[in-house]
């Protein structure tokens, strides 16, 4: 089990060092919220802020979400768990941020918990990873459980479903959507401003929370996140009506990995699969 206290200490120490030395303008980490189960993202800007930093098993927020809020060129340190680090990699690939402006404080962790249900989320939404894929400082020992978890096992029961049943399942889910857009707010990849759904030219879908508008919103969002979603699961945890969006994202990620032989956000040098091609891509992917 991860020693959360130890990581918190190391995080504070590193943050302090960086802020004191002035090597970063801000350290993105977590701080106390309403209670232990609801920590908040936190931007430490002075050495004194460091005292407020915490880290526990409920610190799920993907801090990569907040990097793009700072002006280009700002030096930023970010605490990154496995999925967060992948989000950072995608943002670098997409040229939203530059690697040299980042100091990545890597957190190897297992045993993170869902704030609402308290269940351990490792196998569901971390892409099966426990260690960050890229970092400058590691705040704990790398974790090697020896048993690699397939991030896609959870999909099996849905893949097996009959099409009509699957449609009914998703229809019921999407019909719940109240269009609060918490999913896109939580998503580190959803930095579009404005989002396609807020457009008036064209108006892609109805803006009120109705069945068909919801379907259009979600399906298009899945398409836009294809090859980019890094399976942090934040969309799902943010959802007030508990739509298991992560399942759909995971399925698209799985298909992309099978078709294009590459998982999102694993290596900075990788090309973005949806704005790339290979001449030898098979027509089979269209079958």
């Amino acid at each position: 089990m991860t020693n959360f206290k130890q990581i918190e200490e190391n995080l504070k120490k590193e943050a302090k060092k960086l802020l004191e030395a002035g090597s970063v303008a801000v350290v993105l980490a977590y701080t106390k919220g309403a209670d232990e189960k609801h920590p908040q993202p936190f931007a430490a800007k002075k050495a004194d802020d460091v005292a407020n930093i915490i880290f526990n098993e409920y610190c799920n927020h993907n801090l990569a979400r907040y990097i793009v809020r700072y002006a280009p060129g700002t030096k930023i340190a970010v605490a990154v768990k496995a999925a967060d680090s992948r989000a950072v990699v995608v943002l670098i690939q997409e040229e939203k941020i530059k690697r040299e402006n980042l100091i990545l404080l890597g957190i190897p962790v297992s045993g993170m918990k869902n704030q609402k249900t308290g269940e351990i989320i490792d196998e569901k939404t971390t892409g099966g990873l426990t260690n960050p894929v890229v970092y400058d400082v590691l705040l704990g020992e790398e974790i090697h459980t020896g048993k690699p978890v397939s991030p896609y096992t959870v999909l099996e029961q849905y893949e097996k479903m009959d099409k009509d049943a699957r449609f009914a399942f998703w229809k019921a889910q999407f019909d719940k959507c109240i269009r609060c857009y918490a999913c896109r707010k939580a998503c580190p990849m959803c930095y579009c401003d404005p989002c396609f759904i807020d457009q008036t030219k064209p108006r892609w879908a109805d803006k009120s929370p109705q069945s068909h508008g919801n379907l259009m919103y979600h399906l298009t969002r899945f398409q836009h996140l294809a090859g980019r979603c890094i399976d942090c699961g934040e969309c799902t945890r943010a959802c007030p009506v508990d739509i298991p969006l992560y399942l759909f994202h995971k399925k698209v990620a799985k298909d992309c990995e099978e078709m294009f032989k590459q998982a999102a956000g694993m290596k900075i040098e990788d090309k973005l699969v949806m704005v790339d091609f290979r001449v030898e891509d098979s027509d089979k992917i269209l079958e």
Binding site: Y158, K163, D164, A165, R166, F167, A168, F169, W170, K171, F196, W204, H212, L215, M216, L219, T220, F222, Q223, A226, G227, F248, K251, V252, D255, C256, M259, F260, V273, M274, V275, D276, F277, R278, V279, D281, D283, I285, L286
Partner: protein, 140 residues
Amino acid sequence: MEFEPKILGIACNWCTYTGADLAGTTRLKYPQNLRVVRVMCSSRINPSFIFRAFQLGADGVLVGGCHPGDCHYNTGNLYARRRLAVTKKILDFAGLEPSRFRVEWISASEGNKFAEVVKEFTEHVQILGPQTKFKIAGVS
């Protein structure tokens, strides 16, 4: 009465649209359930067009582009291939029969192929029956 599906075609100007014209010039007969939208390149096709077409009542959507390697814009169809492959997977996981959406490479000289594909696809969609899952209630 036999079910007459509505099929949306989106064809690139240089290959498939021209191929479709050739099918006409050579007076090949094929089912007329297909209505073709002309775009300059298959890569122009925004995946949301496909979702939208199904919402607007399409029973099938057929996209036609140049053969890979023969794109008028060199590589457009190679990007399109990836983009539309993902679209198809999304339709599938959402529970829509993925075979209602088809991408075919049909060159300007393949009038025959165009007619055959349309015939075969129309028959296929006919067997699948009306598409009701995505269709917005009330659209004709």
